[in-house]
Amino acid sequence: MADSYNYSNKAYRRNLMIHSTIRFIVCVLLTIICLLPIYIIVINSTRTTAEIIENGFSFLPGTGLVENFKMLGDGTKNKGFFVEAFNVLEGYRNSLIIAGCSTVLTVFFSAMTAYGLTVYDFKLKKFATAFILAVMMVPMQVVSTGFLQFMAKLNLLNNYLPLILPAIAAPSVVFFMLQYMRSSFPLDIVEAARIDGCGEFRTFMQISLPIFKPAFAVQAIFAFVASWNNYYTPSMIIVNGKREMKTMPMMVQALLNNNLITEFGVRYLAILLSILPVVVIYLALSKFIVKGVALGAVKG
Protein backbone atom coordinates (compact mmCIF):
# COMPACT_ATOMS: atom_id res chain seq x y z
CA MET A 1 0.00 0.00 0.00
CA ALA A 2 1.87 3.04 1.21
CA ASP A 3 5.16 3.22 -0.65
CA SER A 4 6.82 5.64 1.68
CA TYR A 5 6.09 3.43 4.65
CA ASN A 6 7.60 0.36 3.00
CA TYR A 7 10.93 2.10 2.76
CA SER A 8 13.12 1.98 5.73
CA ASN A 9 13.33 5.42 7.16
CA LYS A 10 16.94 5.76 6.03
CA ALA A 11 16.34 4.77 2.41
CA TYR A 12 13.37 7.11 2.27
CA ARG A 13 15.46 9.98 3.52
CA ARG A 14 18.25 9.23 1.09
CA ASN A 15 15.75 9.22 -1.73
CA LEU A 16 14.51 12.66 -0.69
CA MET A 17 18.08 13.93 -0.46
CA ILE A 18 18.89 12.78 -3.99
CA HIS A 19 15.76 14.38 -5.39
CA SER A 20 16.39 17.57 -3.53
CA THR A 21 19.97 17.74 -4.83
CA ILE A 22 18.93 17.15 -8.45
CA ARG A 23 16.34 19.89 -8.19
CA PHE A 24 18.84 22.23 -6.61
CA ILE A 25 21.31 21.65 -9.44
CA VAL A 26 18.65 22.34 -12.09
CA CYS A 27 17.75 25.56 -10.31
CA VAL A 28 21.38 26.61 -10.20
CA LEU A 29 21.69 25.96 -13.94
CA LEU A 30 18.59 28.08 -14.60
CA THR A 31 20.03 30.82 -12.39
CA ILE A 32 23.16 30.79 -14.53
CA ILE A 33 21.07 31.01 -17.71
CA CYS A 34 19.12 33.93 -16.24
CA LEU A 35 22.18 35.83 -15.11
CA LEU A 36 24.77 34.99 -17.78
CA PRO A 37 23.52 37.49 -20.42
CA ILE A 38 23.47 40.23 -17.79
CA TYR A 39 26.90 39.15 -16.52
CA ILE A 40 28.31 39.36 -20.05
CA ILE A 41 27.00 42.92 -20.39
CA VAL A 42 28.50 43.94 -17.05
CA ILE A 43 31.90 42.39 -17.85
CA ASN A 44 32.11 43.69 -21.40
CA SER A 45 31.21 47.21 -20.34
CA THR A 46 34.41 47.23 -18.29
CA ARG A 47 36.54 46.17 -21.25
CA THR A 48 38.11 48.34 -23.90
CA THR A 49 37.18 47.92 -27.54
CA ALA A 50 40.63 46.45 -28.20
CA GLU A 51 40.11 43.84 -25.50
CA ILE A 52 36.71 42.92 -26.92
CA ILE A 53 38.06 42.65 -30.46
CA GLU A 54 40.79 40.35 -29.22
CA ASN A 55 38.34 38.19 -27.30
CA GLY A 56 34.56 38.57 -27.48
CA PHE A 57 33.90 36.73 -24.24
CA SER A 58 35.63 36.84 -20.90
CA PHE A 59 34.78 35.89 -17.34
CA LEU A 60 37.00 38.56 -15.86
CA PRO A 61 36.53 42.32 -16.03
CA GLY A 62 38.84 44.38 -18.23
CA THR A 63 40.52 47.73 -17.81
CA GLY A 64 38.31 49.99 -19.87
CA LEU A 65 35.50 51.05 -17.52
CA VAL A 66 36.81 54.59 -17.00
CA GLU A 67 37.61 54.98 -20.67
CA ASN A 68 34.14 53.75 -21.65
CA PHE A 69 32.54 56.16 -19.20
CA LYS A 70 34.51 59.05 -20.69
CA MET A 71 33.41 58.00 -24.16
CA LEU A 72 29.73 58.31 -23.17
CA GLY A 73 29.93 62.07 -23.58
CA ASP A 74 32.82 62.29 -26.03
CA GLY A 75 31.65 63.61 -29.38
CA THR A 76 34.99 63.06 -31.11
CA LYS A 77 34.89 59.26 -30.92
CA ASN A 78 33.03 57.32 -33.61
CA LYS A 79 32.59 60.53 -35.63
CA GLY A 80 30.00 61.58 -33.06
CA PHE A 81 27.57 58.81 -33.99
CA PHE A 82 27.45 57.54 -30.46
CA VAL A 83 26.69 60.87 -28.78
CA GLU A 84 24.14 61.54 -31.48
CA ALA A 85 22.22 58.40 -30.55
CA PHE A 86 22.71 58.09 -26.83
CA ASN A 87 22.89 60.45 -23.87
CA VAL A 88 22.51 58.73 -20.56
CA LEU A 89 21.46 61.75 -18.48
CA GLU A 90 18.83 62.89 -20.98
CA GLY A 91 17.54 59.35 -21.23
CA TYR A 92 17.22 59.06 -17.46
CA ARG A 93 15.59 62.47 -17.22
CA ASN A 94 13.00 61.83 -19.93
CA SER A 95 12.14 58.32 -18.83
CA LEU A 96 11.94 59.44 -15.21
CA ILE A 97 9.55 62.30 -16.04
CA ILE A 98 7.24 60.03 -18.04
CA ALA A 99 7.41 56.98 -15.77
CA GLY A 100 7.22 59.03 -12.57
CA CYS A 101 4.18 61.09 -13.62
CA SER A 102 2.46 58.01 -15.09
CA THR A 103 2.94 56.07 -11.86
CA VAL A 104 1.51 58.81 -9.67
CA LEU A 105 -1.51 59.22 -11.98
CA THR A 106 -2.10 55.47 -12.28
CA VAL A 107 -1.98 54.79 -8.56
CA PHE A 108 -3.97 57.82 -7.46
CA PHE A 109 -6.76 57.64 -10.03
CA SER A 110 -7.03 53.86 -9.90
CA ALA A 111 -7.44 54.08 -6.14
CA MET A 112 -10.05 56.79 -6.58
CA THR A 113 -11.99 54.78 -9.16
CA ALA A 114 -11.88 51.60 -7.10
CA TYR A 115 -12.91 53.57 -4.01
CA GLY A 116 -15.87 55.08 -5.84
CA LEU A 117 -16.97 51.63 -6.97
CA THR A 118 -16.59 50.15 -3.48
CA VAL A 119 -17.98 52.78 -1.17
CA TYR A 120 -20.90 54.26 -3.10
CA ASP A 121 -24.08 52.84 -4.51
CA PHE A 122 -25.22 54.26 -7.80
CA LYS A 123 -27.15 53.24 -10.86
CA LEU A 124 -24.27 52.67 -13.26
CA LYS A 125 -22.03 50.96 -10.71
CA LYS A 126 -22.54 47.46 -12.07
CA PHE A 127 -22.08 48.62 -15.64
CA ALA A 128 -18.92 50.57 -14.78
CA THR A 129 -17.39 47.58 -12.99
CA ALA A 130 -18.24 45.21 -15.84
CA PHE A 131 -16.82 47.69 -18.35
CA ILE A 132 -13.49 47.91 -16.52
CA LEU A 133 -13.25 44.12 -16.40
CA ALA A 134 -14.13 43.80 -20.06
CA VAL A 135 -11.56 46.27 -21.36
CA MET A 136 -8.73 45.05 -19.17
CA MET A 137 -7.09 43.09 -21.93
CA VAL A 138 -7.48 45.48 -24.86
CA PRO A 139 -3.88 46.01 -25.99
CA MET A 140 -2.37 49.33 -27.03
CA GLN A 141 -1.44 47.88 -30.44
CA VAL A 142 -5.10 47.60 -31.35
CA VAL A 143 -5.89 51.28 -30.87
CA SER A 144 -2.54 52.70 -31.98
CA THR A 145 -3.51 53.80 -35.48
CA GLY A 146 -6.55 55.70 -34.27
CA PHE A 147 -4.62 57.02 -31.26
CA LEU A 148 -1.79 58.31 -33.40
CA GLN A 149 -4.09 60.01 -35.91
CA PHE A 150 -6.14 61.58 -33.12
CA MET A 151 -3.03 62.89 -31.34
CA ALA A 152 -1.67 64.25 -34.62
CA LYS A 153 -4.94 66.11 -35.18
CA LEU A 154 -4.74 67.60 -31.68
CA ASN A 155 -1.15 68.63 -32.39
CA LEU A 156 0.14 66.55 -29.52
CA LEU A 157 2.89 64.69 -31.36
CA ASN A 158 6.39 65.18 -29.91
CA ASN A 159 4.77 65.98 -26.60
CA TYR A 160 4.89 64.01 -23.36
CA LEU A 161 1.19 64.52 -22.55
CA PRO A 162 -0.08 61.61 -24.70
CA LEU A 163 2.44 59.40 -22.90
CA ILE A 164 1.51 60.52 -19.39
CA LEU A 165 -2.22 61.31 -19.31
CA PRO A 166 -3.50 57.89 -20.51
CA ALA A 167 -2.04 56.53 -17.24
CA ILE A 168 -5.14 57.93 -15.48
CA ALA A 169 -7.11 55.02 -16.93
CA ALA A 170 -5.39 51.74 -16.00
CA PRO A 171 -8.11 49.06 -15.94
CA SER A 172 -5.97 46.23 -14.57
CA VAL A 173 -4.75 48.35 -11.64
CA VAL A 174 -8.33 49.40 -10.87
CA PHE A 175 -9.31 45.74 -10.95
CA PHE A 176 -6.58 44.82 -8.49
CA MET A 177 -7.49 47.64 -6.13
CA LEU A 178 -11.17 46.81 -6.36
CA GLN A 179 -10.46 43.30 -5.13
CA TYR A 180 -8.16 44.53 -2.43
CA MET A 181 -10.69 47.05 -1.13
CA ARG A 182 -13.57 44.61 -1.22
CA SER A 183 -11.63 42.10 0.84
CA SER A 184 -9.97 44.35 3.37
CA PHE A 185 -11.45 47.83 3.53
CA PRO A 186 -13.77 48.47 6.50
CA LEU A 187 -16.68 50.53 5.19
CA ASP A 188 -17.59 51.49 8.75
CA ILE A 189 -14.68 53.90 8.71
CA VAL A 190 -16.38 55.91 5.97
CA GLU A 191 -19.60 55.90 7.96
CA ALA A 192 -17.79 57.02 11.10
CA ALA A 193 -16.02 59.79 9.22
CA ARG A 194 -19.34 61.02 7.86
CA ILE A 195 -20.86 61.15 11.31
CA ASP A 196 -17.88 63.16 12.43
CA GLY A 197 -18.59 65.59 9.62
CA CYS A 198 -15.66 64.67 7.39
CA GLY A 199 -16.21 65.46 3.71
CA GLU A 200 -16.17 62.66 1.14
CA PHE A 201 -12.92 63.71 -0.53
CA ARG A 202 -11.19 64.26 2.77
CA THR A 203 -12.27 60.79 3.88
CA PHE A 204 -10.72 59.38 0.74
CA MET A 205 -7.50 61.38 0.88
CA GLN A 206 -6.73 61.40 4.58
CA ILE A 207 -8.36 58.27 5.95
CA SER A 208 -8.65 55.70 3.16
CA LEU A 209 -5.48 56.30 1.14
CA PRO A 210 -3.13 55.70 4.11
CA ILE A 211 -4.87 52.35 4.75
CA PHE A 212 -4.25 51.25 1.16
CA LYS A 213 -0.61 52.32 1.07
CA PRO A 214 1.13 48.93 1.35
CA ALA A 215 -0.96 47.30 -1.36
CA PHE A 216 -0.50 50.26 -3.65
CA ALA A 217 3.26 50.26 -3.29
CA VAL A 218 3.47 47.03 -5.28
CA GLN A 219 1.20 48.37 -8.00
CA ALA A 220 3.26 51.55 -8.12
CA ILE A 221 6.46 49.57 -8.71
CA PHE A 222 4.86 47.60 -11.53
CA ALA A 223 3.39 50.73 -13.10
CA PHE A 224 6.77 52.46 -12.95
CA VAL A 225 8.70 49.57 -14.44
CA ALA A 226 6.11 49.04 -17.21
CA SER A 227 6.21 52.71 -18.14
CA TRP A 228 10.02 52.89 -18.00
CA ASN A 229 10.31 49.83 -20.25
CA ASN A 230 7.71 50.95 -22.78
CA TYR A 231 9.18 51.45 -26.23
CA TYR A 232 6.05 51.13 -28.37
CA THR A 233 4.00 54.18 -27.40
CA PRO A 234 6.85 56.70 -27.01
CA SER A 235 8.29 55.70 -30.37
CA MET A 236 4.88 56.38 -31.91
CA ILE A 237 4.48 59.83 -30.36
CA ILE A 238 8.06 61.18 -30.28
CA VAL A 239 8.74 61.23 -34.00
CA ASN A 240 10.92 64.29 -34.52
CA GLY A 241 14.11 62.23 -34.05
CA LYS A 242 15.50 64.69 -31.52
CA ARG A 243 17.71 62.94 -29.02
CA GLU A 244 16.86 65.29 -26.16
CA MET A 245 13.23 64.12 -26.23
CA LYS A 246 13.84 60.38 -26.48
CA THR A 247 13.22 57.93 -23.67
CA MET A 248 15.82 55.41 -22.58
CA PRO A 249 14.46 52.45 -24.63
CA MET A 250 14.28 54.70 -27.71
CA MET A 251 17.93 55.64 -27.27
CA VAL A 252 18.88 51.98 -26.92
CA GLN A 253 17.03 51.26 -30.13
CA ALA A 254 18.79 54.10 -31.94
CA LEU A 255 22.08 52.69 -30.70
CA LEU A 256 21.33 49.13 -31.76
CA ASN A 257 20.41 49.94 -35.32
CA ASN A 258 23.41 52.12 -35.97
CA ASN A 259 26.09 49.89 -37.48
CA LEU A 260 28.54 52.76 -37.64
CA ILE A 261 29.16 52.73 -33.90
CA THR A 262 32.20 50.52 -33.67
CA GLU A 263 33.33 51.22 -30.10
CA PHE A 264 32.03 48.04 -28.53
CA GLY A 265 32.86 48.67 -24.89
CA VAL A 266 30.78 51.82 -24.70
CA ARG A 267 27.87 50.08 -26.45
CA TYR A 268 27.81 47.48 -23.70
CA LEU A 269 28.10 50.19 -21.07
CA ALA A 270 25.16 52.10 -22.58
CA ILE A 271 22.94 49.03 -22.43
CA LEU A 272 24.03 48.34 -18.87
CA LEU A 273 23.17 51.91 -17.87
CA SER A 274 19.75 51.63 -19.52
CA ILE A 275 18.75 48.67 -17.34
CA LEU A 276 20.52 49.78 -14.18
CA PRO A 277 17.66 51.78 -12.55
CA VAL A 278 15.03 49.06 -12.89
CA VAL A 279 17.46 46.37 -11.76
CA VAL A 280 18.39 48.41 -8.67
CA ILE A 281 14.72 49.04 -7.86
CA TYR A 282 14.00 45.36 -8.37
CA LEU A 283 16.82 44.10 -6.18
CA ALA A 284 15.93 46.55 -3.43
CA LEU A 285 12.24 45.59 -3.42
CA SER A 286 12.39 42.07 -4.86
CA LYS A 287 10.52 40.47 -1.97
CA PHE A 288 7.47 42.70 -2.46
CA ILE A 289 7.63 42.35 -6.21
CA VAL A 290 7.83 38.56 -6.29
CA LYS A 291 4.86 38.41 -3.91
CA GLY A 292 2.93 40.95 -5.95
CA VAL A 293 3.33 39.35 -9.38
CA ALA A 294 0.43 36.95 -8.99
CA LEU A 295 -1.89 39.60 -7.60
CA GLY A 296 -4.02 40.75 -10.47
CA ALA A 297 -1.21 41.45 -12.90
CA VAL A 298 -2.36 40.94 -16.45
CA LYS A 299 0.60 40.55 -18.70
CA GLY A 300 1.67 38.60 -21.74
Partner: protein
Protein backbone atom coordinates in the same frame (compact mmCIF):
# COMPACT_ATOMS: atom_id res chain seq x y z
CA UNK B 1 -40.72 51.07 5.68
CA UNK B 2 -39.00 53.75 7.62
CA UNK B 3 -35.65 51.99 7.12
CA UNK B 4 -36.19 51.59 3.38
CA UNK B 5 -36.89 55.29 2.86
CA UNK B 6 -33.93 56.03 5.00
CA UNK B 7 -31.62 53.91 2.91
CA UNK B 8 -32.96 55.29 -0.32
CA UNK B 9 -32.41 58.74 1.01
CA UNK B 10 -28.81 57.94 1.83
CA UNK B 11 -28.22 56.37 -1.56
CA UNK B 12 -29.54 59.39 -3.36
CA UNK B 13 -27.47 61.81 -1.36
CA UNK B 14 -24.17 59.97 -1.87
CA UNK B 15 -24.63 58.52 -5.36
CA UNK B 16 -23.23 61.62 -7.00
CA UNK B 17 -19.90 61.09 -5.25
CA UNK B 18 -19.71 57.67 -6.86
CA UNK B 19 -19.92 59.30 -10.27
CA UNK B 20 -17.43 61.99 -9.32
CA UNK B 21 -14.91 59.41 -8.10
CA UNK B 22 -15.05 57.29 -11.22
CA UNK B 23 -15.33 60.21 -13.66
CA UNK B 24 -11.59 60.86 -14.25
CA UNK B 25 -10.99 57.22 -15.17
CA UNK B 26 -13.80 57.15 -17.67
CA UNK B 27 -12.99 60.52 -19.20
CA UNK B 28 -9.37 59.48 -19.70
CA UNK B 29 -10.37 56.06 -20.97
CA UNK B 30 -12.85 57.42 -23.49
CA UNK B 31 -10.41 60.05 -24.66
CA UNK B 32 -7.27 57.91 -24.94
CA UNK B 33 -8.57 54.40 -25.62
CA UNK B 34 -12.23 54.21 -26.61
CA UNK B 35 -12.27 57.05 -29.10
CA UNK B 36 -8.97 55.93 -30.68
CA UNK B 37 -10.47 52.44 -30.97
CA UNK B 38 -13.55 53.81 -32.73
CA UNK B 39 -11.27 56.00 -34.84
CA UNK B 40 -9.23 52.91 -35.80
CA UNK B 41 -12.46 51.16 -36.70
CA UNK B 42 -13.52 54.05 -38.95
CA UNK B 43 -10.08 54.32 -40.53
CA UNK B 44 -10.17 50.63 -41.43
CA UNK B 45 -13.07 51.36 -43.81
CA UNK B 46 -11.40 54.37 -45.45
CA UNK B 47 -9.00 54.62 -48.37
CA UNK B 48 -5.42 53.59 -47.62
CA UNK B 49 -2.02 55.12 -48.27
CA UNK B 50 -2.85 58.37 -46.55
CA UNK B 51 -2.97 59.81 -43.04
CA UNK B 52 -6.19 61.79 -43.39
CA UNK B 53 -8.45 59.73 -45.63
CA UNK B 54 -11.81 61.02 -46.81
CA UNK B 55 -13.05 58.30 -49.19
CA UNK B 56 -15.08 55.43 -47.78
CA UNK B 57 -14.04 52.11 -49.33
CA UNK B 58 -16.02 49.55 -47.35
CA UNK B 59 -14.27 46.28 -46.67
CA UNK B 60 -11.57 46.81 -49.28
CA UNK B 61 -8.67 47.06 -46.80
CA UNK B 62 -9.74 43.83 -45.13
CA UNK B 63 -10.05 42.18 -48.49
CA UNK B 64 -6.55 43.29 -49.48
CA UNK B 65 -4.79 42.05 -46.36
CA UNK B 66 -6.80 38.84 -46.03
CA UNK B 67 -7.33 37.70 -49.62
CA UNK B 68 -5.27 40.07 -51.74
CA UNK B 69 -6.33 41.26 -55.16
CA UNK B 70 -4.90 41.08 -58.64
CA UNK B 71 -2.48 43.97 -58.30
CA UNK B 72 -1.75 43.95 -54.57
CA UNK B 73 -0.84 40.46 -53.50
CA UNK B 74 2.18 41.82 -51.63
CA UNK B 75 0.02 43.17 -48.79
CA UNK B 76 -1.79 39.90 -48.32
CA UNK B 77 1.51 38.01 -48.30
CA UNK B 78 3.03 40.42 -45.79
CA UNK B 79 0.05 40.22 -43.45
CA UNK B 80 -0.35 36.46 -43.68
CA UNK B 81 3.36 35.85 -43.11
CA UNK B 82 3.20 38.17 -40.10
CA UNK B 83 0.35 36.05 -38.70
CA UNK B 84 2.41 32.92 -39.36
CA UNK B 85 5.49 34.40 -37.69
CA UNK B 86 3.47 35.44 -34.67
CA UNK B 87 2.05 31.95 -34.30
CA UNK B 88 5.43 30.23 -34.70
CA UNK B 89 7.23 32.56 -32.31
CA UNK B 90 4.46 32.40 -29.72
CA UNK B 91 4.01 28.62 -29.86
CA UNK B 92 7.74 27.93 -29.57
CA UNK B 93 8.16 30.30 -26.65
CA UNK B 94 5.04 29.01 -24.89
CA UNK B 95 6.09 25.36 -24.96
CA UNK B 96 9.51 26.08 -23.43
CA UNK B 97 8.02 28.51 -20.96
CA UNK B 98 5.14 26.38 -19.69
CA UNK B 99 7.18 23.18 -19.28
CA UNK B 100 9.85 25.01 -17.30
CA UNK B 101 7.51 27.05 -15.16
CA UNK B 102 5.19 24.15 -14.38
CA UNK B 103 8.12 21.98 -13.33
CA UNK B 104 9.54 24.76 -11.15
CA UNK B 105 6.17 25.64 -9.65
CA UNK B 106 5.60 22.03 -8.63
CA UNK B 107 9.10 21.78 -7.19
CA UNK B 108 8.91 25.02 -5.25
CA UNK B 109 5.59 24.06 -3.71
CA UNK B 110 6.59 20.50 -2.79
CA UNK B 111 6.31 20.10 0.96
CA UNK B 112 8.24 16.81 1.08
CA UNK B 113 11.29 17.71 -0.97
CA UNK B 114 12.47 21.17 -0.06
CA UNK B 115 14.96 23.04 -2.22
CA UNK B 116 17.42 25.32 -0.49
CA UNK B 117 17.29 28.96 -1.51
CA UNK B 118 13.82 28.90 -3.08
CA UNK B 119 13.36 32.59 -2.29
CA UNK B 120 16.61 33.48 -4.04
CA UNK B 121 15.77 31.36 -7.10
CA UNK B 122 12.37 33.01 -7.46
CA UNK B 123 13.95 36.48 -7.34
CA UNK B 124 16.59 35.59 -9.95
CA UNK B 125 14.11 33.87 -12.26
CA UNK B 126 11.75 36.83 -12.27
CA UNK B 127 14.60 39.30 -12.90
CA UNK B 128 14.64 39.01 -16.74
CA UNK B 129 10.99 40.04 -16.80
CA UNK B 130 11.61 43.53 -15.44
CA UNK B 131 14.50 44.42 -17.74
CA UNK B 132 13.65 46.78 -20.59
CA UNK B 133 12.80 44.71 -23.66
CA UNK B 134 14.78 47.06 -25.90
CA UNK B 135 17.86 46.46 -23.78
CA UNK B 136 17.22 42.72 -23.72
CA UNK B 137 17.19 42.78 -27.52
CA UNK B 138 20.45 44.73 -27.34
CA UNK B 139 22.05 42.23 -24.97
CA UNK B 140 21.22 39.27 -27.20
CA UNK B 141 22.07 41.18 -30.35
CA UNK B 142 25.60 41.67 -29.05
CA UNK B 143 25.84 38.08 -27.89
CA UNK B 144 24.60 36.70 -31.23
CA UNK B 145 26.12 39.37 -33.47
CA UNK B 146 27.62 38.55 -36.83
CA UNK B 147 31.03 40.12 -36.23
CA UNK B 148 34.17 38.43 -34.89
CA UNK B 149 33.82 40.40 -31.65
CA UNK B 150 30.36 39.21 -30.72
CA UNK B 151 30.29 36.64 -27.95
CA UNK B 152 29.04 33.47 -29.65
CA UNK B 153 30.83 33.88 -32.97
CA UNK B 154 34.12 34.70 -31.22
CA UNK B 155 33.81 31.55 -29.12
CA UNK B 156 32.94 29.43 -32.16
CA UNK B 157 35.97 30.84 -33.95
CA UNK B 158 38.22 30.12 -31.00
CA UNK B 159 36.98 26.55 -30.66
CA UNK B 160 37.34 26.02 -34.40
CA UNK B 161 33.68 25.22 -34.98
CA UNK B 162 33.61 27.82 -37.74
CA UNK B 163 36.44 29.17 -39.87
CA UNK B 164 37.48 32.80 -40.13
CA UNK B 165 35.06 34.56 -42.44
CA UNK B 166 32.46 31.85 -41.94
CA UNK B 167 30.65 33.65 -39.12
CA UNK B 168 27.07 32.63 -38.61
CA UNK B 169 24.58 35.48 -39.04
CA UNK B 170 22.12 34.54 -36.33
CA UNK B 171 19.87 37.52 -36.96
CA UNK B 172 18.96 36.80 -40.59
CA UNK B 173 18.88 33.00 -40.64
CA UNK B 174 15.22 31.86 -40.47
CA UNK B 175 15.83 29.02 -38.02
CA UNK B 176 18.46 30.57 -35.76
CA UNK B 177 16.75 33.95 -35.52
CA UNK B 178 13.37 32.46 -34.62
CA UNK B 179 14.82 30.02 -32.11
CA UNK B 180 16.76 32.84 -30.46
CA UNK B 181 13.68 35.06 -30.26
CA UNK B 182 11.68 32.16 -28.80
CA UNK B 183 14.46 31.65 -26.29
CA UNK B 184 14.53 35.35 -25.37
CA UNK B 185 10.76 35.42 -24.89
CA UNK B 186 10.87 32.33 -22.68
CA UNK B 187 13.85 33.73 -20.82
CA UNK B 188 11.88 36.87 -20.08
CA UNK B 189 8.54 35.27 -19.18
CA UNK B 190 9.08 31.88 -17.53
CA UNK B 191 9.63 33.45 -14.11
CA UNK B 192 6.38 35.35 -14.37
CA UNK B 193 4.42 32.27 -15.46
CA UNK B 194 6.06 30.23 -12.71
CA UNK B 195 4.94 32.70 -10.05
CA UNK B 196 1.37 32.70 -11.43
CA UNK B 197 1.20 28.90 -11.40
CA UNK B 198 2.80 28.81 -7.97
CA UNK B 199 0.10 31.06 -6.56
CA UNK B 200 -2.44 28.63 -8.03
CA UNK B 201 -0.76 25.64 -6.42
CA UNK B 202 -0.53 27.35 -3.04
CA UNK B 203 -4.30 27.78 -3.24
CA UNK B 204 -4.71 23.99 -3.20
CA UNK B 205 -5.55 22.62 0.23
CA UNK B 206 -2.35 20.94 1.52
CA UNK B 207 -4.38 18.21 3.28
CA UNK B 208 -5.19 16.81 -0.18
CA UNK B 209 -1.48 16.21 -0.73
CA UNK B 210 -1.06 14.71 2.71
CA UNK B 211 -3.90 12.32 2.02
CA UNK B 212 -2.36 11.38 -1.33
CA UNK B 213 1.01 10.83 0.30
CA UNK B 214 -0.48 8.58 2.98
CA UNK B 215 -2.31 6.63 0.30
CA UNK B 216 1.04 6.05 -1.41
CA UNK B 217 0.52 8.18 -4.48
CA UNK B 218 3.75 8.64 -6.46
CA UNK B 219 5.01 12.10 -7.40
CA UNK B 220 3.94 11.78 -11.03
CA UNK B 221 0.57 10.36 -10.06
CA UNK B 222 -0.06 13.24 -7.63
CA UNK B 223 0.92 15.72 -10.31
CA UNK B 224 -1.35 14.38 -13.06
CA UNK B 225 -4.30 13.34 -10.89
CA UNK B 226 -4.36 16.13 -8.31
CA UNK B 227 -2.25 19.16 -9.20
CA UNK B 228 -3.16 19.37 -12.88
CA UNK B 229 -6.96 19.06 -12.56
CA UNK B 230 -7.09 21.65 -9.77
CA UNK B 231 -4.69 23.87 -11.67
CA UNK B 232 -6.71 23.65 -14.89
CA UNK B 233 -8.48 27.02 -14.63
CA UNK B 234 -5.30 28.93 -13.83
CA UNK B 235 -3.52 26.96 -16.53
CA UNK B 236 -6.15 28.04 -19.06
CA UNK B 237 -5.80 31.59 -17.80
CA UNK B 238 -2.02 31.50 -18.29
CA UNK B 239 -2.44 29.89 -21.71
CA UNK B 240 -4.91 32.46 -23.01
CA UNK B 241 -3.24 35.54 -21.51
CA UNK B 242 0.03 34.32 -22.97
CA UNK B 243 -1.70 34.03 -26.33
CA UNK B 244 -3.09 37.56 -26.04
CA UNK B 245 0.40 38.72 -25.08
CA UNK B 246 1.84 36.73 -27.97
CA UNK B 247 -0.42 38.55 -30.42
CA UNK B 248 1.14 41.80 -29.21
CA UNK B 249 4.74 40.53 -29.39
CA UNK B 250 6.67 43.53 -30.62
CA UNK B 251 9.85 44.77 -28.95
CA UNK B 252 12.14 41.76 -29.29
CA UNK B 253 11.24 40.71 -32.88
CA UNK B 254 11.26 44.37 -33.96
CA UNK B 255 14.72 45.06 -32.59
CA UNK B 256 16.55 41.79 -33.13
CA UNK B 257 18.41 42.79 -36.28
CA UNK B 258 21.43 44.81 -37.39
CA UNK B 259 20.95 47.91 -39.47
CA UNK B 260 17.62 49.31 -40.56
CA UNK B 261 15.38 46.49 -41.79
CA UNK B 262 13.43 44.06 -39.65
CA UNK B 263 14.07 40.42 -40.49
CA UNK B 264 11.17 39.02 -42.57
CA UNK B 265 11.18 35.90 -40.40
CA UNK B 266 10.55 37.93 -37.27
CA UNK B 267 7.89 40.31 -38.58
CA UNK B 268 4.96 39.75 -36.20
CA UNK B 269 1.46 41.21 -36.57
CA UNK B 270 2.33 44.01 -34.14
CA UNK B 271 5.41 44.82 -36.22
CA UNK B 272 3.27 44.75 -39.39
CA UNK B 273 0.80 47.22 -37.88
CA UNK B 274 3.56 49.47 -36.54
CA UNK B 275 5.38 49.59 -39.85
CA UNK B 276 2.17 50.12 -41.81
CA UNK B 277 1.34 53.31 -39.95
CA UNK B 278 4.82 54.49 -39.01
CA UNK B 279 6.88 53.69 -42.10
CA UNK B 280 4.36 53.41 -44.93
CA UNK B 281 1.82 55.88 -43.47
CA UNK B 282 -0.78 53.43 -44.66
CA UNK B 283 -3.51 53.90 -42.08
CA UNK B 284 -6.02 51.80 -43.99
CA UNK B 285 -4.06 48.57 -43.74
CA UNK B 286 -2.72 49.18 -40.24
CA UNK B 287 -6.18 49.87 -38.84
CA UNK B 288 -7.76 46.91 -40.65
CA UNK B 289 -5.05 44.66 -39.21
CA UNK B 290 -5.59 46.24 -35.77
CA UNK B 291 -9.30 45.52 -35.86
CA UNK B 292 -8.62 41.90 -36.79
CA UNK B 293 -6.20 41.73 -33.87
CA UNK B 294 -8.86 43.25 -31.63
CA UNK B 295 -11.42 40.63 -32.69
CA UNK B 296 -8.94 37.83 -31.97
CA UNK B 297 -8.13 39.32 -28.56
CA UNK B 298 -11.82 39.70 -27.74
CA UNK B 299 -12.52 36.07 -28.63
CA UNK B 300 -9.63 34.91 -26.45
CA UNK B 301 -10.75 37.15 -23.59
CA UNK B 302 -14.28 35.78 -23.85
CA UNK B 303 -12.85 32.25 -23.64
CA UNK B 304 -11.19 33.05 -20.29
CA UNK B 305 -14.49 34.36 -18.99
CA UNK B 306 -16.31 31.27 -20.19
CA UNK B 307 -13.86 28.78 -18.72
CA UNK B 308 -13.83 30.63 -15.45
CA UNK B 309 -17.57 30.70 -15.00
CA UNK B 310 -17.65 26.96 -15.73
CA UNK B 311 -15.08 25.98 -13.16
CA UNK B 312 -15.96 24.34 -9.87
CA UNK B 313 -16.89 26.37 -6.81
CA UNK B 314 -13.81 26.00 -4.55
CA UNK B 315 -11.43 26.88 -7.34
CA UNK B 316 -13.49 29.89 -8.26
CA UNK B 317 -13.34 31.10 -4.71
CA UNK B 318 -9.59 30.71 -4.66
CA UNK B 319 -9.18 32.53 -7.95
CA UNK B 320 -11.27 35.42 -6.81
CA UNK B 321 -8.89 35.78 -3.90
CA UNK B 322 -5.86 35.36 -6.13
CA UNK B 323 -6.93 38.33 -8.16
CA UNK B 324 -7.37 36.92 -11.61
CA UNK B 325 -10.18 37.29 -14.07
Amino acid sequence: MQAATDRRHRMISYAKYGYIFIAPFFIAYIFFMLYPLINTFILSFMENRTENPTVFVGLQNYQHILFGDASRNAQQKAFMSSMGNTLILWAGNFVIQIVLSLLLAVWFSDVRIKIKGTGFFKIVMYLPNIITAASVAGIFLMIFGKTDQSVVNSLLLKWGVILKGGNIDFTTDPVYSRVIVMFIQSWMWFGNTMLLLLSGIFGIDPSIYEAADIDGSSGANTFFRITMPILKPIFIYVFITSMIGGLQMFDIPYMFHHGETVSPYLKTVAVYIYQAFRKDHNYGYSSAASILLFILTAILGALIYRFNTDSSAPVKKKKAKGGKV
